[in-house]
């Protein structure tokens, strides 16, 4: 049987217009144009939900960040894939509203979060819903809408880095961050 060896056509098949690709790695790493905001005041591990009537602890400046976190509670929790406010959350938020009404110069950012048991983009939407639930509740209790901003962190900033039921439960939350005006 005869074997045909094909003539090799020496075309330059690779038309390398590669300057752009090569240039990429040589380039200094660009920096995002937006100024980086100061880090969020980090909250301690979730507090046991204090009753709104709990007496103010000594040594804490009323109207301060610490006052809000310790004596009111800066975080509420949600059930899986839910954004409706549980009874325990409503208790905390009523106390938040009362505190905010006592210190009208304080502005807040409500940061909604989700556990890792959902896809990233869906969880951004879910966290936004949770932040909105909290915002609506506070507004209904007399906090001026202009004092409130909301954001969703989705599943990007988990409070508990674990991967179990406890961690998920802690990570389904909305955090009220005092952005200005606290003592």
């Amino acid at each position: 049987m005869s074997i045909k060896t094909k003539t090799v056509v020496k075309t330059a098949l690779v038309a390398f217009v590669l300057t752009s690709v090569a240039a990429c790695s040589d380039k200094p790493k660009p920096v995002e144009p937006t100024p980086t905001p100061p880090p969020v005041a980090t909250a301690p591990a979730p507090q046991p939900q204090p009753a709104p009537t709990q007496p103010v602890q000594t040594g804490i400046l009323p109207g301060s960040q610490q006052d809000f976190v310790v004596n009111v509670g800066d975080r509420v929790y949600f059930d899986t894939d839910q954004s409706s406010l549980r009874a325990d959350a409503q208790g905390v938020l009523a106390a938040q509203a009362a505190w905010l009404n006592r210190y009208p110069g304080v502005k807040i950012r409500i940061e909604g979060s989700a556990d890792e048991r959902g896809t990233r983009e869906y969880n951004f939407a879910l966290g936004a819903r949770r932040a909105e639930s909290v915002s609506e509740f506070l507004i209904s209790k007399g906090v001026a809408p202009a004092r409130i901003s909301t954001i969703s962190y989705g599943k990007e900033n988990p409070l508990n880095p674990g991967s179990d039921e406890d961690a998920w439960a802690q990570n389904r939350n909305a955090h009220t961050s005092l952005t200005s005006g606290a003592r």
Binding site: V14, P30, D81, S83, T119, E132, I151
Partner: protein, 448 residues
Amino acid sequence: MRKTANGPFDLTKRGLLVSGMGLAGLAMAPEALAQTALRGTVDQGNIQPLPIAIDINSGADASGNNIGAQISKVISADLERSGFFKPIDPNAFIAHEADVNVQPNFDNWRTINAQYLSNGRAFTDADGRLTVDFRLWDVFGTNQLLGQSMTATPENWRRVAHKIADAIYERLTGEEGYFDTRVVFVAESGKRGNRVKRLAIMDQDAANPSYLTDGSTKVMTPRFSADSQEVVYMSLSADRARIYIFNIETGRQETVGDFRGMVFAPRFSPDGSKLAFTVTQGGNSDIYTMDLGSRQTTRLTRDGSIDTSPSFSPDGSRIAFTSDRGGSPQIYVMNADGSNVRRLTFGGGAYSTPVFSPKGDMIAFTKQSGGRFSIGVMNPNGGGEKLLTSSYLEEGPTWAPNGRYIMFFREPPGGTPSLWTVEASGRIERPVPYHGGASDPAWSPRLK
């Protein structure tokens, strides 16, 4: 659409028949190959990877660098990861082929059971350019299947190797190659709960990684434009989310739009003229498009539910998306103007992240069911669901430009995410050899 191999198909057919299995689906009319070849085979049973020897020679240069051996290694690794080839260890070779213009000593290659041989010569020409002259042989049929020469600047030797691997893959499978491509992704470092997330880009085989943002804000969900020159992504800082377009060529980036609420899930339309993304206002997430010329936005969904993760069909006429308007996250499709919304998934569990395949013949998605996550595929009408993978947590499917492989990321409980590929039948699953945490991959079109 790129044309696939159209050489003497009878040779291919005979070569593959000698194998007796493996890519048996190729033993049919050439015109049917591109659509059915590999698919027909893998659906029948186990894949029998084809033994192939890659023997590109150059001799060592003055600094002891053997570029031919390095090119051989990259080609072999590409072919191996495809799942359809079993490259033979060069240590088993009886002798190298000294002259690329002479027919190989087939006995030497038969002895080590190489069904195919790709031999060649790499050299630097007078202009300092790297040239690789290579052949592909059917060892048992003793026929030449390919003979080509490729030239590039020496620093692009890996792209030469990928292009040779593409040529071999195309000639022997009848499908488009996908090795000369890149992946944009999110490089993750630091502890869980406080991750640094940087925009990164690398070759599809994880070589040449480079980092495009500095990690001062978290970046997520990058997507290539159709010409691979731009990447759109989301950036999250403590107080706001933004969408950026990053130009890979110039390194320039710009923010897109100024939205009061959350903005996320950006994608380019196939023609590059528009973006689709999600904006949340009053807690309600809806899908919008923005014309990149006029910067005018159009709201596409008005439902009070979550609507996100848009994916344009390749012809730009439809958008698949995730919505929980039916009570749980499911996949829907609408016309690109927001009309004619239809629900595609009805199975138990939650469905999200739909992504049209490059040919528009499938939609990849993430399914959450029974405490597990899976990557799956279905027809564009919602039928024919097939789950390809399963683990504790995985999501983010992206298609190789040939529509045969899907890259995604997987995160073990309490662990670090990593990139994986799975063949569209689910039979071939491979880790992407990037060293480090990585998520949110997006596969480029074939490079020009």
